[in-house]
Symmetry: C2
Subunit: 237 residues, 2 copies
Amino acid sequence: MSTLDRAHAVLRVTADLVILTVRKGAMHVLVIERGNEPFHGMLALPGGFLRADETLEEAAGRELAEETGLDGGRLYLEQLRSYSDMERDPRGRVVTVAYLALAPDLPIPTAGTDARAARWEPVEKIMAAGLAFDHGRILADAIERARAKLEYTTLATAFCGDSFTVSELQDVYEAVWGVSLDRRNFNRKVTHAAGFIEPTGQKRQSAAGRPAVLYRRGPAATLSPPMLRATIDRNVD
Amino acid sequence: MSTLDRAHAVLRVTADLVILTVRKGAMHVLVIERGNEPFHGMLALPGGFLRADETLEEAAGRELAEETGLDGGRLYLEQLRSYSDMERDPRGRVVTVAYLALAPDLPIPTAGTDARAARWEPVEKIMAAGLAFDHGRILADAIERARAKLEYTTLATAFCGDSFTVSELQDVYEAVWGVSLDRRNFNRKVTHAAGFIEPTGQKRQSAAGRPAVLYRRGPAATLSPPMLRATIDRNVD
DNA sequence: TCAATAGTGTCTGTGAGACACTATATC
DNA sequence: GATATAGTGTCTCACAGACACTATTGA
């Protein structure tokens, strides 16, 4: 315990969250308006310091529950990566471990127990306007991770509710990737991929048109062959 | 600076390294024999505490240079993930950020400036025998990451030298995945994938047989379509 | 019956898997 | 020429992309 070499940095660690959802055809991120210095009044990612009696996963889950009012156990949550640049926090040396959470389109994020103003904002707008600290970079990394994961995992369903239609699932892919997909090929792909989605036997009636069959998440975690994000760069020999 | 809430953990951070290579048809990992308590005499992953004046990436690169004698700039190095379980280090609260490095079959890892006994060991043997701390789990995560990355990136070449034959590249895939691949299909795949490998125009003579054409790394970072790891689980309707 | 959304079928081209022969070196 | 390794060609099947028609609801 006293083997502490004086060259070793002694520091604080935060768990910050990139909580993504899809609403109205666009990817949104949960941001808070900072009530304290530094960056008072600016938008930032939710997060907080790691406490002495919890792991990073517990801290991330705690922040998730505080900011969204949801119990973190129901949302998909994975570690993104760590950030340790010297100058990233004006308060001193802080290492941040960022987490990526994927959520269905929640009614509205409750303001949270610490009464910070949390709200959904389109990622496009946020990426253009910027965030406090190096949170813009963290958000960019999270978006790229989410885009990649939609290719080779079944995680797109994490953006949907417990039951969902094929159209809703396609909306997720189109919003996250920013592309449009062929409805017929998409339907064939997701219904033929083993364990991706399962019919519930129920249907849902939208405003107009034929009712859509409802599906739930299947047991598979990965998609093989993957869903292809875009037209592949073809070799030209 | 004095806004430190007493609930916040103040702790030390280490950067630990999983350095993988392929030699004699098997994946190997660089391990050190611990000279101090705790876990004196046991094998562990190389690593060390983050210093006050460096980032995690710099700490990882520094450890890499110290342990292998190579300048880290020449090796592939990526962040793996963070580990923060309460009981993972008997000395107290330590959060570790693990890094994954891929190296060609180095002549021999020099003992390093801190004179710790560093050596290559087959991952299979190490996974069976265990490691100090939670390094066994970190190694398992690193291996799974490496296996996955070989599918959809061109990282296999990081295990090879500056120039290499198709056979050597195939040996990498077979060692990392623990499978055997068809030579003819493998050759077609890697030579037709845009930007994966480029012929150098030279050849290399092995002990016997026809000389093999030498290749170098191409500009592509990702493989699409990916290299398939195994026979795909087919849907049975 | 019209508008709106859901669902299905076919054709084609790329590419992976299975498989056998030819080429070029050393001994 | 025997042995060892390198390199290539063909067939088939899975599946992605392009594309148009049918089905089922409410207004």
